[in-house]
Symmetry: C2
Subunit: 300 residues, 2 copies
């Protein structure tokens, strides 16, 4: 990297400062510590530098002119300056850049609604060292068990296995916590308000939607209300079913049976998988930490 | 959907049959039950139908001719036939389709190496009902505790917090199980062979790499070998550190301390989060199920 030609400005570290002082960088990850590249020769894209000596070009923050010509000059400049990964974040309005990028050796990395990110790895004597994008869909299921020992069950409108009695649940939204997600899904599908008791199980499998892997976190909940209000778009029927009936019902899949059995086991054994909300002291980042614990005195 | 015009062929249900009888469909998800659309008017893309009445066009399986013209005719046909989501999976070689698709109301959905998938939702009186693509990066960390009460610790070459002593680990590869991933990462980074004892904790946070959320699963392992062999590319130093030293070391982050404390707690309390490998009876799909259990007699 030519230090003479690039003036680097560090993006501040904490999210608070970041939000206060930058705007365009909001869609990028501050923990990559992007730095704006201020001074480049004419005809070359400016872009942002990262701590791995890569460059990111955001299509709607640069003037393209003759895109093909500018790309060629930029690639020459980046190769000369020993840059590693070159990233182009291309928004819908600049999508005519894409065929030119792919003809210049770029491949796709990830995409989301209004942009696609393409990548070219420049080093010729170094193995590509770029993590693949996220490939796991996260879902949650709610095992809602009432004081009357009844389980809240639903039958989905578009189920792969028709008439199956399942637990309410669905995909976790971007930036949503697992417990918030399961409480929301239970409310949306059944009208029942519920609160967290314990994580029960995590199921991990491959070859799900969009060829992604699937992680399904089942969470034990206590209902705060009992009245049912069906989501007509997604749910064909719903009920409070006595737990004994659920555990022997022919239209309940063995895995769902397993979750309820486990929930009952945890209560009997006095164990739970609890959630703590914490903040990372150095990075000032909030996180949730799920771990098992015993509710009994361990001296017994 | 016009049943007169479309002859549907069901993709067989089990993965085994699927592998034996289809090839082009391998990159798509069998659980979406894609069906090849056999009979369409001239000048219209054929594509695959899904159970939500959507159509998927795979760019390198169709003849384009004049792409813009064919797209216009196809959209007219799909709207007339009340299709819902229209998906275009565009490979690198056909990337000149992309600017034409975005000008026709398509947006990006996801991308991976050699293709990008674009989407247009046709219904005008129905809310878009398409799950967003995966937005969570899955990582694993290994808490390897020897019989001498020493923890296997590493210092990363490109760490955000320099000199910090961390647990070996990294991202889970596509279609990799969590325990396989952590054993692989420990082996690659440190040369140590280890085996599963328990899941310890799951940490969930937002705003990580590529603006994804981050799920970090920490797994307790028993070493089968003790000799250290450092991965020079990623790791700057590594050691077996006495557990008491680790729990009081100033360059160990509180969360990593928490994981080791929890591991010791689980052993003391006789609880673990175990993994069972199962097969879904209807869908014939393998999955891993992680749940807590007590190793003690619960009658105490």
């Amino acid at each position: 990297m030519s230090k003479l030609l690039t003036t680097l400005r560090l993006v501040p570290r904490t999210l608070r400062n970041h939000r206060a002082t930058t705007s365009a960088a909001d869609s990028r990850n501050i923990f990559h510590k992007y730095r704006k590249i201020m001074d480049v020769p004419g005809g070359v894209f400016k872009g942002l530098s990262d701590r791995f000596n890569g460059v990111t070009i955001v299509s709607n923050e640069e003037s393209a002119g003759d895109f093909g010509k500018r790309l060629t000059s930029s690639l020459d400049y980046w190769i000369e300056n020993k840059r590693r990964a070159i990233w182009f974040k291309v928004h819908l309005d600049q999508s005519d850049w894409i065929p030119i990028l792919t003809k210049n050796g770029f491949v796709f990395h990830h995409a989301k609604n209004d942009f696609v990110t393409l990548l070219r790895w420049l080093p010729t004597h170094e193995k590509v060292n770029i993590p693949v994008y996220s490939h796991t869909m996260i879902g949650v299921g709610g095992a809602v068990l009432s004081d009357n020992n009844e389980v809240l069950v639903v039958s989905e409108r578009y189920s792969l296995i028709p008439n199956s009695w399942k637990l309410p649940g669905g995909y976790v939204e971007p930036k949503e916590n697992l417990i918030d997600a399961v409480i929301r899904e239970v409310r949306e599908e059944t009208g029942v308000e519920a609160e967290f008791e314990t994580v029960i199980s995590l199921r991990h499998s491959h070859g799900g939607s969009y060829d992604c892997s699937d992680m399904y976190v089942v969470i034990g909940l206590r209902p705060k209300t009992l009245e049912l209000k069906r989501c007509e778009r997604e749910i064909s029927k719903l009920a409070w079913m006595p737990v004994e009936e659920y555990l022997n019902h022919e239209n309940v899949h063995e895995t769902n049976r397993h979750f309820i059995k486990k929930f009952l086991d945890y209560r009997k054994l006095g164990i739970k998988i609890d959630c703590e909300e914490k903040r990372h002291q150095t990075l000032q980042k909030l996180y949730n930490l799920y771990s098992a614990k015993s509710l009994k005195d361990d001296s017994c």
